[in-house]
């Protein structure tokens, strides 16, 4: 009796435990008959579905909201019942009592008797809504990742430690011309140009042992069709938890077009550089600050030195001077001015001194260079050697000096010839005529002396002219005739007027000396040369009785000469009697800009 009770107690305890376990398992458990009707459910089943035991029991598991969830479940259940399968798993939607739709994972098995006949089904199910959501999100994310990987515009591939391709995207196939299958048989070095293979392999090997090193390389790739293209590859590593190489990632871009463009640009730059080198003029460039960035061979020759790129400032020359010989510091040279004031500088001459002491006169043409926004980015300068020009100028000056000297001498010779002839003739008339002639030539010679002083090639100083011609005329006068210049303008007159004016002045002075003196041969002649509003005026005054122009002209060819020459100068002779005789010749100087 006692033993039965003990056995009963154990049995009761076991049954209780079983029931509790059954009830509170974390999965929903339902027992179903062959039609799928629920016979018994556990508490968790109620919790999951939100329905009470009474609502669940007696209902069919195939009574579902979503028909598509039913068909597969029903089919499999039939097979289970029929004994074709032992168990099956399925996922389906369950509508809770509160209307919420959840996803459940169901494992269905059968309990059979000794004859393997179906007794009842056991359905174990769990709410997998969250899991499913997470799984869906993950699947979507993976899908996106895969799509991105596949469709990236660069070739992405994964390689093992030996460089064998493990995985490649579509773009890799496009770039290499191989199919995916073909690529997975190859290593990255198989498709690399032999000349580039070794360095890539070395870098890759280093990377497998030092996985945190990322490297980039430009190399040639040999496509399946044999065509060689240039690619830029970035190689990085995915590591495992211990930091060791797991697999390598190779990202590759076709840069063939880019390299061609770079090569074309380099070739173009080379051509321009050769062009500038070939120029016979010295050319150099600076950056915006004034440091020299480039120079051609002609610049080296002009400067007599090789400029130091990056440390020479403003100018390639050794030392610089202004044309007058004063030193010109480099930081004040035309290039420095051009950069500091951001404008081209023109019209400046300078002299460069070479290290060997020789000097070169030149004209610089510094010009600032600007970018598209107008910002100063540097400058270019051309130095034109003007040694030859300077030499030509010097030669020309020598020639002009010689010519001037020669003409003066020749005129003096002429003057002397006439005076000699005058002295040697026995005829009084001849002597008088020769005297006139030699005086006139003397006046012209004196005028010539006033020309070309200090290198002035087109005009002469009126004062020098007046003094010279008066002195020359006076030589023929008697000692007690005084010629004074009472007023002379500071202006210059153009060379065309010199000879006519000299002859006019000589004539008037000679007349004044002849007729403008008193009985004892004394007299004063006053000469003035002044500038009026629209003309110049030459006056010769004496203290004599004066004369009538018309009458005098008839008798004196000298006054006819004066009138004709005055007309030639665009003016006229006027004679006034005011105490003495006053002859005035007004004239124009058409050679001058008035």
């Amino acid at each position: 009796m006692k033993i039965d009770n003990a056995i009963e107690a154990v049995l009761r305890e076991q049954t209780l435990r079983l029931a509790v376990t059954y009830e509170h398992a974390t999965v929903g458990i339902a027992e179903t008959d062959a039609t799928g009707k629920r016979l018994r459910v556990n508490a968790t089943a109620c919790a999951i579905t939100g329905r009470s035991r009474e609502e669940l029991a007696g209902g069919s598991v195939f009574d579902v909201r979503h028909p598509e969830d039913r068909d597969e479940d029903f089919r499999q259940y039939q097979r289970l019942v029929a004994g074709e399968i032992d168990r099956y798993a399925i996922e389906k939607r369950i509508v809770r009592k509160d209307g919420a739709v959840i996803w459940a994972s169901i494992m269905c098995s059968a309990v059979r008797d000794e004859a393997s006949r179906f007794l009842y089904g056991v359905r174990i199910f769990q709410d997998i809504t969250e899991n499913k959501r997470a799984a869906d999100a993950l699947a979507e994310s993976e899908q996106r990742l895969a799509a991105t990987y596949e469709n990236a515009g660069v070739a992405i591939s994964e390689v093992d430690a030996l460089g064998r391709l493990l995985r490649v995207n579509e773009t890799t196939c496009e770039i290499t011309g191989y199919s995916r299958d073909e690529l997975l048989q190859l290593t990255v070095f198989d498709v690399t140009h032999p000349d580039d293979r070794e360095s890539d392999a070395q870098s890759f090997d280093r990377q497998t042992t030092e996985p945190d090193r990322r490297y980039a390389v430009e190399k040639r790739l040999i496509r399946k069709d044999g065509r060689i293209i240039w690619v830029a590859v970035t190689s990085s590593v995915v590591r495992d938890g211990a930091g060791r190489f797991r697999y390598g990632i190779r990202v590759m871009r076709d840069i063939t077009a880019q390299r061609h463009a770079e090569e074309a640009l380099r070739a173009s730059e080379r051509r321009f550089r050769e062009l500038i080198e070939a120029l016979p003029a010295a050319v150099y460039t600076t950056d915006a600050g004034g440091r020299i960035t480039f120079y051609n061979q002609a610049a080296v020759e002009l400067a007599g030195r090789r400029p130091a790129i990056g440390s020479d400032w403003w100018c390639v020359t050794w030392k610089m001077y202004r044309p007058d010989g004063t030193p010109l510091p480099h930081d004040q040279c035309p290039m420095a001015v051009a950069l500091k004031e951001n404008r081209p500088v023109r019209g400046i001459e300078a002299v460069a001194e070479r290290p060997d002491g020789t000097r070169v006169p030149f004209i610089p043409y510094p010009t600032p260079l600007r970018d598209e926004n107008g910002e100063l980015i540097g400058s270019v300068n051309m130095l034109v050697d003007i040694s030859e020009r300077k030499q030509a100028e010097a030669n020309q000056k020598v020639l002009l000096d010689e010519l001037n000297h020669r003409v003066k001498n020749n005129m003096q010779m002429l003057h002397s010839l006439l005076r000699t002839a005058q002295r040697e003739t026995h005829s009084a008339e001849a002597r008088a005529v020769l005297a006139d002639a030699s005086q006139r030539v003397g006046a012209m010679a004196a005028a010539q002396q006033a020309l070309y002083d200090a290198g002035n090639t087109s005009s002469y100083r009126a004062r020098d002219f007046l003094e010279g011609v008066c002195a020359s005329a006076k030589q023929a006068f008697a000692g007690n005739i005084n010629v004074s210049i009472t007023d002379c303008m500071e202006e210059r007159l153009s060379n065309d007027t010199a000879m006519p004016l000299a002859l006019i002045l000589n004539e008037l002075l000679t007349n004044a000396a002849k007729h403008g003196v008193n009985g004892s041969g004394e007299g004063s002649v006053r000469v003035r040369l002044t500038k009026g509003e629209d003309c110049f005026e030459l006056n010769v005054e004496d203290e004599g009785p004066g004369f009538d122009l018309g009458e005098a002209s008839r008798r004196s060819s000298g006054l006819g000469l004066v009138s004709g020459l005055a007309r030639q100068l665009g003016g006229a002779l006027k004679v006034e009697r005011m105490g003495g005789a006053r002859c005035s010749v007004q004239f124009l100087d058409r050679g001058r800009a008035q």
Partner: protein, 127 residues
């Protein structure tokens, strides 16, 4: 020769007074008559019209802005009288400018008196 020379009256147009009087003397000595001396273009045209010379000896450089070529063109246009041009330098451009005036000749300056007379003789014979 002398008879035909006397009949020919010549207008001298020259801005340099001394050169003009010199040329006048050379012409007169050779037997020609000098119709007048002018130093300016307007003077030359006026004298050409009033004196009706057989020909004009025209210096290119004259007093004033108008030069001898323009004066010659006007004289030819208005009177049909032609010129011998006297000038220190003349180029193709000047010759082409002067062509419409139907020049009788080009006398280089400085000139020798016999060269001047020879050219005038030839011109007078051709007229």
């Amino acid at each position: 020769m002398k008879a035909s020379r006397e009949a020919a009256r010549i207008l001298v147009v020259e801005d340099d007074f001394l050169a003009a009087t010199d040329m006048e003397a050379v012409l007169t000595d050779a037997g020609y008559q000098v119709a007048g001396l002018a130093g300016r273009a307007d003077e030359a045209v006026r004298l050409a019209k009033s004196e009706s010379p057989a020909l004009v000896i025209m210096d290119i450089r004259l007093i004033g802005k108008v030069d001898g070529v323009d004066a010659a063109l006007e004289i030819f246009r208005e009177t049909g009288i032609r010129c011998i041009f006297a000038t220190a330098h003349h180029d193709a451009h000047m010759r082409s400018r002067a062509a419409p005036a139907a020049p009788l000749g080009w006398l280089p300056k400085p000139y020798a008196p016999h060269a001047l007379i020879a050219m005038v003789d030839r011109a007078v014979a051709a007229l």
